[in-house]
C-alpha cells in the first residue's frame, strides 16, 4: 500500500478473526485493529475528519490554535495532524491519565493544560469550554459534539467493516464521545437488517465519579440512544481480564478499553450460542497497549493491576 503522506494512510485497518476466543464455528468474533492507524488509535479518523471539515468551513487557517478536551488519543491524533498542517494545539487533559499520553502529546508539539482528576473528562470538557470562551481566536473542534466525528466512522470505519464482513450481525465498541458507535451504527443499520449495535462503557473507580453531582453529569451532544441496541457498563476488573485474555489467546496487545469492548462482545456471542443463532461479532481494538504500560495493567495479578488502575482514566 502506498500513500502520498502519513495523513493519507489513516484507516483501512485489518479485521482479524479470533479463532480461539470465538465460541463456535457459527458464532465468530472479529477484531477491527484500529491501533494500526498512524498514531496508533482509532481517533486518527475523527481527528482528520474534524480538521478537514473545519478547513473546508474556513474556521481553520494556517497558524491557527486548536483547543481540545481529551483524555489522550484524540489529542495525540490532532497533534500529529496539526504538526503536519501547521496548526498549534492545546489539549485539556485530566491529570489522572497515563504519562505516556503526555509524553506523546509533547513530542508532537502540543501544549497540555491539566484539569482536576476528580470528575474525569467531564472536568476537561468544562475547563476547555471556559478557555474557548476566554480565547475566541482559538478553534475548539469539540469531539463530543462535532458531527465530523461520527461521520468519519460512517464514511470509513463502517464501510470497511461491511466490505470485509458482509455477514456482520453485531458491532461492539467502547462508548466515549459515542462517535464510533453513532457512525458505524448508523451505517450498518441502513444496510444490515437486524444488526445489533452494542456499547461497552468503561466503569471507573470511585474517584472519577466521586465529586460529581448527579445534576452535573455529561452526555456527549453526539449521543443518540436510538442508534444503540444496548449498552453495558464494564468495570476495570473485567476490562483488565479480557485485555490479558486477548493477548494470551490471540496474541493481540491492546489497550484496556479494548478489554471492555471484548467483554461485551463475548457476552453477546455467548447469548447467540445460547439462542442457537449464527453471529459475526465485530469489536473495536481502539488502541494498542503501549500507552498503558506504566499503569501496570499487564503485570502481576489481576487484583494488583486493578488496584493500580483505581482512579485512572483507562479509556
Amino acid at each position: 500500500m502506498r500513500f502520498d503522506s502519513l495523513i493519507d494512510s489513516v484507516g483501512r485497518t485489518p479485521l482479524v478473526g479470533l479463532p480461539r476466543l470465538s465460541p463456535s464455528a457459527d458464532v465468530r468474533v472479529w477484531a477491527k485493529l484500529e491501533d494500526r492507524n498512524p498514531t496508533g488509535s482509532i481517533k486518527d479518523r475523527p481527528a482528520l475528519w474534524m480538521i478537514q471539515e473545519a478547513e473546508k468551513d474556513g474556521l481553520l487557517t494556517p497558524g491557527c490554535t486548536i483547543l481540545e478536551p481529551t483524555s489522550g488519543n484524540t489529542g495525540i491524533s490532532l497533534a500529529m495532524s496539526a504538526k503536519l498542517k501547521g496548526y498549534k494545539l492545546i489539549c485539556v487533559m485530566p491529570e489522572n491519565t497515563s504519562e505516556e499520553r503526555r509524553q506523546l502529546l509533547r513530542m508532537w508539539g502540543a501544549k497540555i493544560i491539566s484539569s482536576p482528576a476528580a470528575g474525569g473528562s467531564n472536568e476537561a470538557v468544562r475547563v476547555a469550554k471556559e478557555l474557548a470562551a476566554q480565547n475566541p481566536s482559538w478553534v475548539m473542534l469539540y469531539q463530543y459534539g462535532n458531527p465530523a466525528n461520527w461521520r468519519s466512522h460512517y464514511e470509513s470505519t463502517g464501510p470497511e467493516i461491511l466490505e470485509d464482513l458482509p455477514t456482520v450481525t453485531h458491532f461492539v465498541a467502547g462508548l466515549g464521545t459515542t462517535g464510533t458507535l453513532m457512525g458505524v451504527g448508523r451505517f450498518l443499520r441502513e444496510r444490515v437488517p437486524g444488526v445489533q449495535i452494542v456499547a461497552a462503557e468503561p466503569r471507573y473507580g470511585e474517584l472519577v465519579y466521586g465529586l460529581r453531582n448527579v445534576d452535573e453529569g455529561f452526555i456527549p451532544e453526539l449521543y443518540d440512544e436510538s442508534v444503540l441496541t444496548t449498552r453495558f457498563s464494564v468495570g476495570s476488573a473485567d476490562a483488565l481480564r479480557r485485555t490479558r485474555e486477548l493477548l494470551a489467546s490471540e496474541g493481540i496487545f491492546a489497550g484496556v478499553s479494548t478489554g471492555a469492548a471484548l467483554h461485551a462482545a463475548l457476552g453477546v456471542a455467548a447469548k447467540a450460542v445460547k439462542a442457537g443463532e449464527r453471529a459475526d461479532v465485530v469489536f473495536v481494538v481502539a488502541d494498542g497497549g503501549w500507552k498503558y504500560l506504566s499503569t501496570g495493567a499487564y503485570e502481576g495479578t489481576l487484583e494488583e493491576a486493578e488496584e493500580r488502575l483505581e482512579g485512572q482514566l483507562w479509556a
Binding site: N122, Y204, Y209, N213, D215, T230
Partner: protein, 90 residues
C-alpha cells in the same frame, strides 16, 4: 427477594455512607420506592417526572436499564443494580 443496589459516592449521604444497600421490588420502579422508604430523599435524586433523571445511569447486572424497559424493567432475586452519574469519555 433481595436485590443489591450499589450507590455512588454522591448519593451516600442518603444511605449513611453505605456503598451498597439491599432493597426489594419486582420492577426498578418498585425498587426505587422501597429505597425511598428506607432512605428518604433518594428517589428525587434518581427520578424526575416519572423517568430516570437525565444524568443518572442505572444498570441491571451491568446492562443499561434504558434499553431494558426503563423504570418498568423487571428484576429478579439476586440481581445487582448499579447507579452511576453520567461521565464523559474520549
Amino acid at each position: 427477594m433481595a436485590i443489591e443496589v450499589r450507590i455512588p459516592t454522591i448519593l451516600r449521604n442518603y444511605t449513611d455512607g453505605a456503598k451498597a444497600v439491599s432493597a426489594q421490588g419486582a420492577t426498578l420502579e418498585e425498587l426505587i420506592s422501597d429505597l425511598e422508604s428506607h432512605h428518604p430523599g433518594i428517589k428525587d435524586r434518581l427520578v424526575d417526572q416519572g423517568a430516570l433523571r437525565r444524568f443518572v445511569n442505572v444498570y441491571l447486572n451491568d446492562e443499561d436499564v434504558r434499553f431494558l424497559g426503563g423504570l418498568g424493567t423487571p428484576l429478579s432475586d439476586g440481581d445487582t443494580v448499579t447507579v452511576l452519574p453520567a461521565v464523559a469519555g474520549g
